[in-house]
């Protein structure tokens, strides 16, 4: 149930800000003046490949070096993470870019602090891709009038699929979307309930193993497409700028480490997912650049407006650092 529904965030926004106001005492991070004791920090993540760098960074002592003691809380998606960060239960969170853009457009007080993960840039070997079973569907524009599975409606996956179809010359508005969790997509395609699925690893490897044809990927939107970011609340940003800066620095270092040591990143997966060690060898890992790719986020924001997720393009400077 990996859901990042904007509607959910909208309904919880009011309560979230109320909770944030009422709990005026800051989250459980002790304000340490010296580096002797690490600041205790809780980060809301999703148990997927994308967050391997933060686990690796913790286990390699990178966060400790920056005076941060990390606790990871596995949540079921941005819908649970965003309100928890805003109300201060988590100090930082991990969420996809479109969810963050949607939250920001509803004035949810959040701010991105570090890069999450990006497309590999290879349209044939990316960590998220569009698959079809029917041999008559030869290219993305053939999906016009067909049913495509997306993990969440009006979010990053269907926006990506629409962009892929439009790029191929099809009318993106005529693609029908069905909301299905990633784990349920392959069975749905198998049973013929949908005509195409957009899956991410480890389901992408499984789709490939089935011999299904890949007709698109995140890289089709932008070769450097920024898929997700780490973020914090604007409250923590103003109250503990030093802690936020140390988190950003540690995150950058962790991303660079994971990018440089893919084998260690693969091994790390077995510590927080149940993917078998053998299976991790064949997975396509995302790219983990240290810096946020603003160009691709700008492009996503534009697409979000084109496809009606947002009424106007948000001012990205309020979201990005």
């Amino acid at each position: 149930m990996i859901r990042k529904t904007s509607a959910f965030i909208a309904t919880t926004l009011l309560v979230a800000s109320m909770a944030a106001c009422s709990s005026s005492s800051t989250p459980n991070a002790p304000s340490s003046s010296g580096p002797a004791v690490d600041d205790k920090v809780t980060v809301g993540v999703i148990a997927i490949l994308d967050v391997a760098p933060i686990y690796l960074g913790r286990d390699k002592g990178i966060f400790h070096k920056h005076g941060i003691e990390l606790t990871m809380q596995q949540a079921q998606g941005g819908a649970a993470i965003v309100p928890a960060v805003v109300s201060g239960q988590y100090q930082f969170g991990f969420s996809n870019v479109v969810s963050l853009l949607l939250a920001k457009s509803q004035n949810v007080p959040i701010k991105a602090v570090a890069n999450g993960n990006n497309s590999t840039g290879s349209t044939s070997a990316d960590f998220g891709g569009l698959f079809v079973k029917d041999p008559n569907i030869k290219s993305p524009k053939d999906l016009v009038g067909k049913k495509v599975a997306t993990n969440t409606l009006k979010n990053i996956v269907d926006t990506t699929v629409k962009a892929i179809v439009a790029k191929d010359g099809g009318d993106a508005s005529k693609v029908n979307f069905v909301e299905l969790a990633f784990p349920n997509m392959a069975p749905a395609l198998d049973a013929g309930n949908v005509d195409a699925i957009f899956v991410v690893e480890p389901f992408l490897s499984a789709a490939k193993a089935k011999g299904w044809k890949q007709i698109g990927s995140y890289a089709d939107v932008d070769p450097n497409l920024c898929v997700a970011l780490y973020f914090t609340s604007t409250q923590l940003m103003t109250q503990k700028p030093d802690l936020v800066k140390r988190f950003t620095d540690a995150m950058k270092e962790s991303l660079a480490y994971a990018q440089a040591h893919p084998d260690e990143a693969r091994a790390e997966l077995t510590t927080y997912t149940t993917i078998k060690a053998d299976d991790t060898k064949n997975l396509i890992l995302p790219k983990w650049p240290g810096d946020i790719d603003k160009t691709s986020i700008d492009k996503l924001a534009g697409l979000a407006v084109t496809y009606g997720l947002l009424t106007s393009k948000p001012d990205l400077t309020t979201l990005l650092p």
């Binding site: 990996i2 959910f8 649970a80 109300s87 239960q89 784990p183």
Partner: protein, 266 residues
């Protein structure tokens, strides 16, 4: 005698029949994926699930999650049962309170606990406490309603008699309300126990608070399908155990009651 009747009707003791049913079910789950009626990729065979369970029970992290789920369930149930009994007896014995709270209870009771998930995430977070709130909320009503009905079911003649004999409030609760409401309350406990487990696993699954539900979700996100099934079977076994315990308690505590006694017509 009842057993003799059951035996005469079916030809075999119920325990054997139950075991045969279970074996048939497991066998079906072994055969259907094997012959391809169910796709094996999504419906692992019973033996695969069994093997996965065998490895599962060797992992310490599994037992941690197991303990977390059982703890959330037991704690939630205990709170709900205690609160349900106390409030049920108080509200049930004071007619004014009963009338004043009836509409509120009828309004709050049907709210599905899961609808409160967004609220508890925001107010409490994603720890065990938020799932606990769901568990207590859902199972409390089961308990309260049963106790309310139990208290209301006191035989009017017995009540009049107690009044004639000038039994005090405490004695009336002990000798009049308690025996009348006990069968209702124990049914409430049994119902609340299964509802509490449903909500414990649901909370972990949806909120992500630690426990077996969360492990199911993690296994699902990792495409570890046999593991998902194995964990589901484990939650089912917990439910089964909970029900068996509740029934045993019921039989023991109500040994005097006509519904349990075999020698008097119920």
């Amino acid at each position: 005698m009842t057993q003799a009747i059951a035996k005469g009707r079916t030809g075999a003791p119920p325990v054997l029949l139950g075991a045969a049913g279970l074996v048939a079910f497991v066998g079906l789950f072994e055969v259907l994926p094997r012959v391809g009626i169910l796709p094996e990729a999504y419906f692992p065979t019973a033996s695969t699930i069994g093997r996965t369970m065998a490895t599962l029970v060797t992992e310490s992290s599994f037992w941690v999650s197991f303990g977390e789920t059982v703890q959330t369930w037991a704690l939630g149930l205990a709170i709900a049962v205690a609160a349900g009994i106390v409030l049920g007896v108080v509200i049930g014995t004071v007619p004014v309170l009963r009338a004043a709270t009836a509409s509120t209870i009828e309004f709050l009771r049907p709210i599905p606990s899961v609808a409160l998930i967004p609220l508890v995430i925001v107010l409490v977070g994603t720890d065990m406490e938020s799932t606990l709130i769901l568990v207590v909320y859902a199972s409390f009503w089961q308990m309260l309603i049963q106790v309310l009905y139990g208290v209301a079911d006191v035989d009017p003649v017995a009540r009049e008699t107690a009044l004639s004999y000038r039994l005090g409030p405490w004695d009336r609760i002990r000798y009049l309300v308690f025996p009348t409401a006990l069968p209702y309350a124990l049914t409430g406990v049994r119902l609340a126990a299964s509802v509490a487990l449903i909500l414990a696993v649901t909370g972990e699954l949806v909120i992500g608070s630690p426990g077996l539900g969360h492990d199911i979700e993690t296994a699902n996100s990792s495409n570890s399908i046999p593991r998902v099934y194995a964990l589901i079977v484990v939650t089912g076994l917990i439910g089964l155990a909970a029900n068996l315990v509740a029934r045993a308690v019921e039989r023991y505590a109500l040994a005097w009651h006509p519904s349990v006694r075999a020698d008097v017509p119920a």
